[in-house]
Structure formats: structure tokens, C-alpha cells
């Protein structure tokens, strides 16, 4: 197939020395140089693009879930989801999906999994290069756009398997085999494998049907033959443990918006909307669409491609995963177009050198349009690439998939009951870690089982602290107590980015077992296995809030979980990671600890990123004082006024100056300002003690607060001092 495309293109390649876009037809040495340079530059450009896409860490959320499914299968459980999930009753259609990923893990470890992406990108780059023959800029650019658009699917995940089978199916549909039975059976076999390994087989079925109906046949294929072929394809797709329900499940996973329950997908892994797509992916997809439209408008592609393109739009804008898969049909459309039309590509006509008269004058105008089209394509490509490149290069697994935190938290525990997880990532980590805990549900299986609404409603109840049973407007039952305690839930696993949920759990019996990491495990207070961890976490919380703890960026371990490969960077000072840690601490009711993290950002020139989280922490401290004493201290009030851009007319100049410095993260400067006048007023002493607490001088702070509590127990600052002393049983943590 590839050879045939290649040979056609060679036959139609223009012989003029300067057929690359934008160059006039030159003669002599410049033309000779252009002839040499012409194929290399697009090739090099394409290679750089591929390398940029290849060296990204694995970020797929369902990695651990797929590994767990594979492991269950190897244990002899043919319905892995049923074994791993409490609420699951259905069989898995894609029951083998975890096997290739687990096999890679067993053979090559996590580093092997991290290598999958570069290998897949290399394979795809070779495949798309052979198919599109990117020696022309236009083709090189479109090939690069395909890579960018498909990037999220190039990982060891269910989506990656879907992508691979989709490509395989496209190759099978295009391959021209002499043996009639080979021709008829290759696609059903691919579909059979696809249905058992990955969830979106219906996409292949629909694409195959559309492709067979739309493409030109040397002899017109009778409709009945096409019908029998599709029937065979449907039957092959249904040879899974789910049987005839396989396609229904696949349809629900692939096009969830089409189902009545689809509106619950505004939350969860399918939530997209126009802002849910990474800009680089949306731009690359739009550019590819425009490229194909150009091909159609230039009659380089049959008009029958239009309905296929429209269908691709309907599928692609569902979510990020579907947009990645949409790159496959676009790739085949472009490849077929390039193969058929040869070298007459937009931009080529500019170098023809035809006399500009009459019809030729009209042609020149069209050629300019083609150049404009190529320029637009290149601009979109560059913007996409730049946006993509801003993520930085990396290798390994993203920090969000770091399972070591959970392993450390649960080390030595023997747990027998169940756990609730808020996403497939958290559920997968727990399922892999084992310990005998069964997870309630995950969004994908909940979607298939018609439980997605209940899944999200429960999370909503947890987020808003609706513990007790209550009725909802549709007569459903609400409240998290019954669903969780009825299932003997012992643990909750929450993504640390979901600070609203973590804050909602603060006053419940679910207590954190740790204070950092990509996921937060919360154990049920009173659980004999988890009580020790809960108490230890409380000590850590007190330490980071009131002790002499100061934030330091995580040290690189050179492990596969660090974006810093091979330990080249000793410290991994990621702004987003720091913000996440600060927001987590704040959600756990530790605003002083959060401010310590944010001050690190302020000291290292990232004030803008730390601004809003800092304001929220200061607001929390203000509210705490109002709650405890009926009114906030003067210093706290002045700080909040300063952050709001106002001045407090009642504040002394030293208070104002100290508050300004404090708001900017300069605690030491604020302390110095307050102490330089020797002011021993109650409010000043309380302010100094508060700042010392945040700065790490807890002993001096305790002394000052104790004196305040004794001297003025009924003044607001005295009451605040008493409250703080009551909480200041600061442990020493080694």
C-alpha cells in the first residue's frame, strides 16, 4: 500500500527545480540548492514535531485501572470490573483491555510503559509519513497536525488501544489483497479484536460502513455485498462476554451525549465544552479540517468526503478522546487525496511559470489563494505546536499518577471493607494497590450501568456536606450517610485538585490519612486499622500549621514519576504543584501552612500566581478570628483591607506598613516593623505572636500568647490567644 502511494506521487512530482512553496522558479545554482534543500526541510521539521510529541510523560487517567483489570484477568477472573467494583454487575466487553498494558508492565516495568509513547509516536510518524508523503511542505504540515491532534491517544490506555485498532482497521480497509477471503475477513477480524480489547468498536463499525459506501470501487460493489459485509462486521464485534450488548455499550461510551443520561456528563471524564479541549489540539483539528476542505474545493478529493468530514466533526467535538480518534479518518482522507492527485497540491501552481493571460490570470489568482491556504495552515500548525510545546518535554509518568504516596499511606494496613473513589484515576490506584479494598464504582462503568447520575449526586452531597437523608426534587433520595455506611465504606479517595470536596469533608467522620500527594485518602474515624494513620496525619497537620515547618519543593528522585528525567534536576519546583499543595492545605483548614507554601512562590518571583490563593488564605484567617472572638484582630483587618486595595483609617502607620509587607509574603519584614517601635499594646503583641507562628518561632509565640490570655482573657485578642494555645500542642516531627 505504502509503495503504491509512494510510486504514484513520484510519477506526478513536478520536475521543476523549485517546486517548494513560496519560491519563484529559479535557475542555476539557487535552483540546484533548492532541489537539495526541498525534501530535507519538511522532513526535518516533521521529525522535530514528532520528537516534541513523543517526549511527553504518560498522563492517562486509567493507567492503573487497566493494569488492575489485566491483573484480575490473569488471576482467572473473566469479568475483572465485577471483581474490582462493588456496584458492577455487567460483564466487560473489552475484558482483554488490560492485558497488553499489564504485559508491558511485567516485561519492562513502569519505564517500559513510559517508552510506549515514543514508540507509538515513531510508528505513527512513519505510518503517516508513508501515507501522506510529506516531502512537500503542505503534506509535512498536515502530517504534523495529525500527530498533534492525536497526541492524547498515543499512550498505554483504552483510548490508545482504540486509536491503534482504528488505524489498523483503516489499513485493513485500504489494503488490496488478491485473496477474496482475505479481503472479506480482515476487517471483521480486526473488529473482533477491537471489541475485546478496547471500548469504542462502534466507531470502527460506523467508519467502515461510511467508508464502504463513500469510496469509489473499480466495479461497483452490489449493495447486498456491502450489507453482508457489515452484518459480518457486526457479528464479529459482538463476540465478547457482553454479546449483543457490546455495541450498545460501545455506543454509550463513544457518544455519551446522545443518551438521556448524557447531561450528567458536564462533570467527569467526558466534560468538554469548547474550553475543555487543549488549545493545541482544537487548533490542529480545525487546521486539518480546513486542509481537507481545501482539498475538496480544489477537486483533489471527491465530494463524497464532505459527509465523512461532517460526521467527523460530530464525533470529534464530543471530548478530547474523540478528537484524538478523529485524526485517523482525517489521515486516511488526506492520504487518499494525495495519492490520487499526485503533486498538484495547493502551492505547487505558484511555480508553474505559466503566462498570465485570460484563463491563466484566473489560475494565478487561485494559486495565490492556495498559497494563502498553505500559509494559514502553517500559522495554525505553528500556534498548535507552540501551545503544545509550552507543556515542556518530559519522560515517564506524570506526578498525578504517582502511586507511591498511596502505598506509603496504606503500608502495613489490612483493610477488608470498601472504598469510594471520585475518579477512575483514584479508583485505579487503589485497585492496583490492593489491600483487599473494593471500590464502589468508576465513571465509565457507572455510565454503562446507568448509575452515573447517582455517582455524581453522591459526590455532590459529599461536597456540600449533605449527610442526612433528604429528598430531591425528582423524589430520589439524597444524603451520603446511607450510601456510604450501608456499603461499609472504610475509605474515601479524592483527587487533591477537588478542594471543594475536601473542604466539604472537613467536619465529617472522614479524616485525612496524609496531607500531600496527588490523591488524598480519607479514613473513617473509628476504624481500628486506620486510626493510627488518622492521628499521625493530625500531628502532621498541626506541625505544618503551627510548627517550624517551611515549604521546600519536592526533590527529584530520578524516578519514572518525575518529569525531570534521570535526576538531572535536583529540585522540582513546579508552580502548579505548589499551588495545588497550598489549596489542599487550605481545604483541610490549614491556611497558615498554605501561606507558607505560597510565600515560597512569592519569594521566587511568582507573585502573580500566588496572589489569589493568598487572598483566600487571609480571608480564612479573618473569618476564623470573627468566628472565635466575634471580631477579627486589628492586624488581620488591616491585612484584608490592604489586600482589597483599601487603607484602614484607624490603623497606625506601623500596622499599615507591616500589613503591606505581610500581604506580600515578607513576614520577617512585617515582624521587624511591628517590633521596632517597642509597642506593647495588646493588638500589637497579638500580631507579633501570630506572625511568629507563621514564621516558625512557635516557642516565642506560645509565650506571648500565654501572657495575652492571662492578661486579657475577655478581650478579643485574649480569646484568640486562648484558642490558639489550645490548638498549639505542636508535635516534633522527624
Amino acid at each position: 500500500m505504502a509503495k503504491r502511494f509512494h510510486s504514484r506521487s513520484h510519477r506526478h512530482r513536478p520536475r521543476t527545480p523549485s517546486a517548494s512553496v513560496g519560491f519563484a522558479a529559479n535557475q542555476g545554482s539557487a535552483g540546484e540548492r533548492a532541489t537539495v534543500v526541498k525534501p530535507i526541510l519538511p522532513l526535518a521539521w516533521y521529525g522535530c514535531c514528532a520528537a516534541l510529541i513523543a517526549f511527553q510523560p504518560v498522563a492517562t487517567d486509567d493507567l492503573w485501572w487497566q493494569l488492575s483489570r489485566g491483573r484480575e484477568l490473569l488471576k482467572g477472573n473473566w469479568h475483572p470490573s465485577r471483581m474490582l467494583l462493588v456496584d458492577e454487575t455487567l460483564a466487560d466487553a473489552d475484558w482483554l483491555g488490560g492485558v497488553p498494558i499489564l504485559a508491558t508492565f511485567h516485561l519492562l516495568g513502569l519505564a517500559g510503559l513510559a517508552t510506549v509513547r515514543p514508540l507509538v509516536v515513531a510508528a505513527l510518524a512513519w505510518f503517516s509519513w508513508r501515507m501522506i508523503l510529506g516531502r512537500h511542505w503542505w503534506r509535512a504540515v498536515t502530517a504534523g497536525l495529525v500527530l498533534i491532534c492525536a497526541s492524547p491517544a498515543l499512550e498505554p490506555s483504552a483510548l490508545g488501544l482504540d486509536f491503534g485498532f482504528f488505524l489498523l482497521l483503516g489499513w485493513g480497509a485500504h489494503s488490496h489483497r488478491p485473496n477474496r477471503w482475505q479481503r472479506r475477513l480482515i476487517c471483521p477480524i480486526i473488529l473482533l479484536l477491537w471489541a475485546n480489547f478496547a471500548p469504542r468498536v462502534v466507531l470502527g463499525l460506523l467508519s467502515l460502513a461510511a467508508w464502504n459506501l463513500a469510496r469509489r470501487q473499480p466495479q461497483r460493489t452490489p449493495a447486498i455485498t456491502i450489507g453482508w459485509g457489515l452484518l459480518l462486521a457486526v457479528a464479529a464485534s459482538s463476540l465478547t462476554p457482553r454479546g449483543w450488548w457490546t455495541l450498545a455499550d460501545s455506543l454509550r461510551i463513544t457518544f455519551p451525549l446522545a443518551f438521556p443520561q448524557g447531561w450528567w456528563l458536564n462533570e467527569g471524564p467526558w466534560a468538554s465544552g469548547i474550553t475543555g479541549f487543549p488549545p493545541w489540539q482544537a487548533l490542529s483539528f480545525v487546521a486539518l479540517t480546513l486542509a481537507i476542505l481545501f482539498q475538496i474545493a480544489c477537486q483533489k478529493m471527491r465530494n463524497a468526503a464532505i459527509p465523512i468530514l461532517v460526521g467527523v466533526q460530530v464525533a470529534a467535538w464530543h471530548n478530547v478522546g474523540m478528537m484524538s480518534l478523529a485524526a485517523v479518518p482525517l489521515l486516511f482522507l488526506l492520504g487518499r487525496s494525495y495519492a490520487v492527485s499526485g503533486a498538484n497540491q495547493p502551492g505547487d501552481a505558484a511555480e508553474q511559470g505559466e503566462p498570465v493571460t485570460g484563463h491563466a490570470r484566473h489560475l494565478t489568482r487561485e494559486s495565490h489563494l492556495h498559497v494563502f491556504g498553505l500559509a494559514l495552515l502553517v500559522v495554525l500548525f505553528l500556534i498548535s505546536l507552540f501551545a503544545f510545546a509550552r507543556q515542556g518535554l518530559g519522560y515517564g509518568l506524570v506526578e498525578a499518577l504517582d502511586i507511591r504516596f498511596l502505598e506509603r499511606t496504606l503500608a502495613g494496613k489490612s483493610l477488608e471493607q470498601t472504598a469510594w473513589a471520585d475518579s477512575v484515576r483514584t479508583a485505579g490506584m487503589l485497585a492496583w494497590d490492593g489491600r483487599g479494598l473494593q471500590v464502589h464504582d468508576i465513571p465509565h462503568r457507572a455510565l454503562l450501568g446507568g448509575r452515573l447520575m447517582d455517582y455524581h449526586l453522591l459526590r455532590d452531597d459529599l461536597r456540600h456536606g449533605r449527610r442526612g437523608y433528604h429528598q430531591r426534587s425528582d423524589n430520589r433520595q439524597g444524603g451520603w450517610w446511607l450510601p456510604l455506611l450501608g456499603r461499609q465504606t472504610e475509605m474515601l479517595l479524592v483527587d487533591t485538585n477537588d478542594t471543594a470536596l475536601i473542604a466539604g469533608l472537613r467536619q465529617t467522620l472522614w479524616r485525612p490519612l496524609a496531607i500531600d500527594g496527588p490523591i488524598l485518602a480519607l479514613g473513617r474515624a473509628g476504624s481500628s486499622e486506620l486510626n493510627d494513620s488518622i492521628l499521625l496525619a493530625i500531628r502532621f497537620q498541626d506541625y505544618v500549621e503551627f510548627g517550624d515547618w517551611q515549604y521546600r519543593p519536592p526533590q527529584s528522585s530520578g524516578s519514572v514519576f518525575d518529569r525531570d528525567r534521570f535526576g538531572l534536576r535536583p529540585e522540582w519546583d513546579d508552580t502548579n504543584l505548589a499551588i495545588r499543595q497550598a489549596e489542599l492545605l487550605r481545604a483541610m483548614g490549614l491556611p497558615r501552612a498554605a501561606l507558607r507554601v505560597l510565600r515560597h512562590l512569592q519569594r521566587t518571583g511568582r507573585e502573580r500566581q500566588a496572589d489569589l490563593p493568598s487572598k483566600r488564605c487571609h480571608a480564612d484567617l479573618f473569618d476564623w478570628e470573627v468566628r472565635m472572638a466575634g471580631q477579627a484582630s486589628v492586624f488581620r483587618r488591616v491585612v484584608n483591607q490592604t489586600l482589597a486595595g483599601r487603607t484602614d483609617p484607624a490603623a497606625t502607620p506601623s500596622f499599615q506598613k507591616a500589613a503591606t509587607a505581610y500581604a506580600q509574603g515578607q513576614v520577617a519584614a512585617a515582624l521587624e516593623t511591628l517590633q521596632q517601635d517597642g509597642d506593647r499594646a495588646l493588638e500589637t503583641r497579638y500580631a507579633v505572636a501570630s506572625l511568629r507562628l507563621e514564621f516558625g518561632g512557635s516557642e516565642a509565640a506560645i509565650m506571648e500568647l500565654t501572657q495575652l490570655a492571662e492578661e486579657a482573657p475577655e478581650q478579643p485578642v485574649g480569646r484568640l490567644a486562648t484558642e490558639l494555645i489550645g490548638r498549639l500542642d505542636i508535635p516534633t516531627v522527624h
Partner: protein, 383 residues
Amino acid sequence: MENPIFHWRLFAAAFLCCGLAAGIVIGWQHRTVDAPVPTLASASNRLDSRSCAECHADIVDRFQRAPHRRTLRPATVPELQALFANRELDSDLGRFQFFSDNQQLRLTTERLPQAISVDWIFGSGQHALTPVAVWKNLAGQIESSQLHVSWYKGDRLGLTPGSEAADRDPASLGIVHDPHQTADCFGCHATYLPSDDGRIDLGQMVAGVSCARCHPGASQHVASAGETATLTDWPALSPLESVRRCGECHRRDDQMTADEVTVEAADRLARFASVGLVQSRCFTQQSVLSQSGARLDCITCHDPHSPARTDPAFYNKTCTACHDPSHHPIAACNVMPNDSDCISCHMPKASTVQHLWFTDHWIRRPKANRSDHSTSPGPAQPQ
């Protein structure tokens, strides 16, 4: 060589088709989602009982005197202020004093320089009235303080349940509740409590328990001139479902742990009638009499639209409707005559908090005769 000709119209048409397809998908993702919200916050439930009076005048009229109707009122109500103003309480937490300042009820203590304004009064007064202060934090969420001093039946002031465990130092005027707890408190004492991402709107709240609180879907019922039924068909509920519906505020048995529902803890459970009732053998074994139409749930004895009856004869008659050996093979009392007062022995009053007495709804043999009820029956099973 053939030069390409650009077909503008084809390009435009195809571009528009693709754009339309994409726009439809994106628009579909952004359509308004009407997620089921708690009945309390459901916009469709904001209904004044005067609308119900158009067809159910007698019930609505009776209901105005029911305790549920007045279970939450603003502290500016004159008769409520009169119960608190210029009164003091000496307690372990200090001396507290209520006073009225320009029609605003306030609470102070000698141990603190500032007073706190009372914003709401929780309770119908059948047992007690508890003052609550509210404020908005910087995030716009309502927080509250359940003040330490409550009014009790018999015109006495006493510590609010829970305050007896509060720390004496530092001095405080009440127990502070965070936004979630505040929403829970108001949630049981209101018919409509709108919230926006956890921020309750007390300005739009319908205080007190009125029609729509127990009859969700009432607004659609009114809008359809009675054609559309309300969501809850009370007669169709099983006894357990019926009691648990009341238990949504009065506490459900299945929301308590096994060690909380024991005979030894029965006195503490007296406050939660709906929990005690479902532990009773009268309740758990009522299926024996199901064919005769006998049924035991909350509304067997209590009409929620009216004040609770206080005459023992009424309740005794309800008991003997089943416990009549001439009609039903259920054991009659072997200690006292059948026409004696059942309630005083089998449903005595219990108190776990000073000044507060509740009828113990865990119907069982009096203590002197209890020899085989030492194990916890646990949460009731659906019938």
C-alpha cells in the same frame, strides 16, 4: 498539467456544514442541566401555603396552629422577644443576659465586652426555643452561632442542649456552626432554602415547615389546578417509609449506628421519636394485623396538620384498637386493666437535658418487667 481550480461555493458549503455540526455538538454540551436538587432548594417548591388554602382551607387553617408551622421565626417577632428580653441565666459558663436594643434582641455575658444579635429563633415552643445568630463570611457563606441559652416550656431559661459540654474558657456566647452545619440546621426548619453553590440565601427562605415541605411537587399541583398529584403519595408509603420520611428531620433509624440504638441508650433516643418507634415490637410486628387495616406509623397518632393531642385517652384508644383481645390475638396487658393509661407505662417521658422532656416512642415493657429486651434490635427492616 491540470491546474487546480478552487470551487468557492463548495468550500463555503462544506465549511458551513462542518461548522454547523461542530456547533450543534458544542451547544448540546452546554445545554442547561436541571440536576435534581434537594427538595428544600428546588425552585419549584417555593410555595406559600395561602395558595394551598384555596382548595384545602380547613387543613391550612388548622395548620396555622400546628407546631411545625412556627418552628423557625425571626427574632423580631414581639411575642418571642417578650420571652427572652431582660432575662438572665446563671450557668457554669457564666451569667448570660438577654436585652432588647431598638427592637433587636441581643445576648451578652459579663465575661465578654460585646453582645451578639439574635437573628432567628428555632423551635415551636412546644418544648423549647433556641436563639441563633448568623453572619456571612468573606466567601459569602452563612455561618451561625447556636446561642448557649434557650427558653424551655414552663417559661424557664436553661443551657441549650450541647452547650453544657462547651468549654468555659475562652468565654463564648454560643456554639459556632460552619456553613454546611448551618445549612443543615436551617434545612430542617424551613420549607424552602435556596442555595447557590453552598451559599444559602436566608432572604429568600420560607421559614417554618409548611405544606410544600412534606408534599414536594406542591407547586406543580397548584399550577395544574390539582390535576398533577404531588410527588409523595403518603397512603402508598409503607409504615417504615412513612416514619422515615418524618425521620428526615426527626432522625432516621438507619442513619444511626448499632451502638447508638440500644435499650441502654433508649433515654437518649427519646428525643428522636422516629428512631424509637421503629424499634418497637408494635411497629416491627404490625404486619400480623395488616389484613385488618391496622397500621402503626407517626400519623396513626399524630396529625401533622394540627397541634399534638395531649389527652391520654386519645392515645390509649389508639393502643386498644390493636391490643383488644376480643378482636385481635395480640397480648393485652397482664399487669393493668385494659382501660388503664397505656402511655404512662409503655411510653413514659424521658429527659436527657435539663428542662427538656420527650415521650419515649420506643414502646416496650416498663423497666420493672423488662427481662428479655437487653439486645439491640438494630435498624428496622423494610416491610
